[in-house]
Symmetry: D2
Subunit: 143 residues, 4 copies
């Protein structure tokens, strides 16, 4: 299922996540991606990413593939794993597992940039952040 | 600006669209894409897409590139244009214009599938839908 | 803590529930009330409330008192109990318990009407629904 | 219609505001109230409410009466007027006018507290804020 994902969170589908089509609205999945992305960054030590250096993460891109309709009630497990570390950004892969359907309902990716909020420019990913990702993922990343 | 987009809607940025970073949250943009996508489908004659044939649109994929931070107050114009029509799906390109910044803040795409909600399977895009898109876009699409 | 509430649900506070003030936005609490309200109705046997008689619940009023600011991360337990059953409506009391603060953060109420979606008019609350509420609450309600 | 409301904003109903019942979800109305409340505070000179004194508005209560179901497409005008100014809080009355139905769909109220975010305590409403409200409302408020 999501055993390839070092970071997961489990959330209930809310009745209010559904839209007029009677299934879970597409924006709910983007919120789930955000929630697991934040959790991943916390595990890296969010403090490294934020003040006092005013360098923090910023989302540069999100994409989601909707493979199965989701309905209330259900419980979803959302996974995050880093697949690529570049100079100033890294790419996180996501998957959403439906407990009711026992299947991956959606998958997608986030691209996160290390951003200097003072200069409003991307910066090089700090070495300790790179090391933290490698440790969480249990593998080295080509630099 | 968005003169290449045959369908646009203009919406105010709401204070509540902002998150704890003090800028517009990434999910707001996905909701804007949905709003202009629905508007585009309405102009095609949404009735063709829905009952009584129980064939309707379903979102297969959405992606968004965040190029500039957005803040409240602002007004955004969101564009939609169809770039590709396949056998059972078509791809819509989106761009979001910020009035305050006089620049494209985000862009992205939606992939919409013609879906039979009874059989739960994709179906071939109806000929009149294909013709409607061609008319809105003012050009032919290779079949 | 919420031992007076026969129905409770527990949900994590999401990072995205926060707004530009850096605390949980007021709308999140209204969504929590909805989620526990739906759960309460399910326990009553939602089927009685819906088709084939086309009589279902409709929300007539919601109110929320914000007593403490909530922040991410936290976990909230939301309670629902029926305090009054009228002719065609009943009033549900809500409270939200913050695990991080070990205190009630918000409370409020929902007024739910038994509504005939065909005639678009309120109807008398069915006897078995009234009995179901009495059973869940463990007490009689004056009729 | 809303001629008694000195501050109004007009917003489109979004397709995504609808829930699985096929009408506008109750949380959408709470967001509309927030949007007009923020607009009202801006007109008072939001700067008075915020830094450098670290005194700002905080929402103590919101309530909404749902009188008519709303559907997409529609356009709503949301009004705000202050009805009461107390020692450290004031009460704003809201109404939502549906263009499609030419009727008030919902109404309600917000209670806003002048709050010192440093001491985490309510403070007396500043005299110039009180004067600003009186000017916007075109009447005196008993002190």
């Amino acid at each position: 299922m999501l055993e390839d994902y070092p970071v997961t969170i489990t959330l209930p589908v809310l009745w209010g996540d559904q839209d007029a089509f009677g299934h879970v609205n597409n924006t709910a999945c983007i919120r789930w991606f955000e929630s697991v992305r934040v959790r991943y960054l916390e595990l890296l030590g969010g403090g490294q990413l934020h003040s006092p250096t005013k360098v923090g993460p910023i989302l540069a891109r999100v994409a989601c593939n909707y493979r199965r309709q989701l309905n209330y009630p259900d419980e979803v497990t959302i996974g995050a794993r880093v697949e690529r570390i570049g100079n100033s950004s890294f790419t996180m892969q996501h998957a959403v597992w439906s407990a009711a359907q026992q299947a991956i309902a959606t998958d997608g990716e986030s691209v996160v940039v290390a951003f200097d909020y003072t200069t409003q420019k991307p910066v090089r990913i700090p070495a300790d952040l790179r090391a933290g990702i490698a440790q969480l993922e249990g593998r080295d990343f080509p630099s």
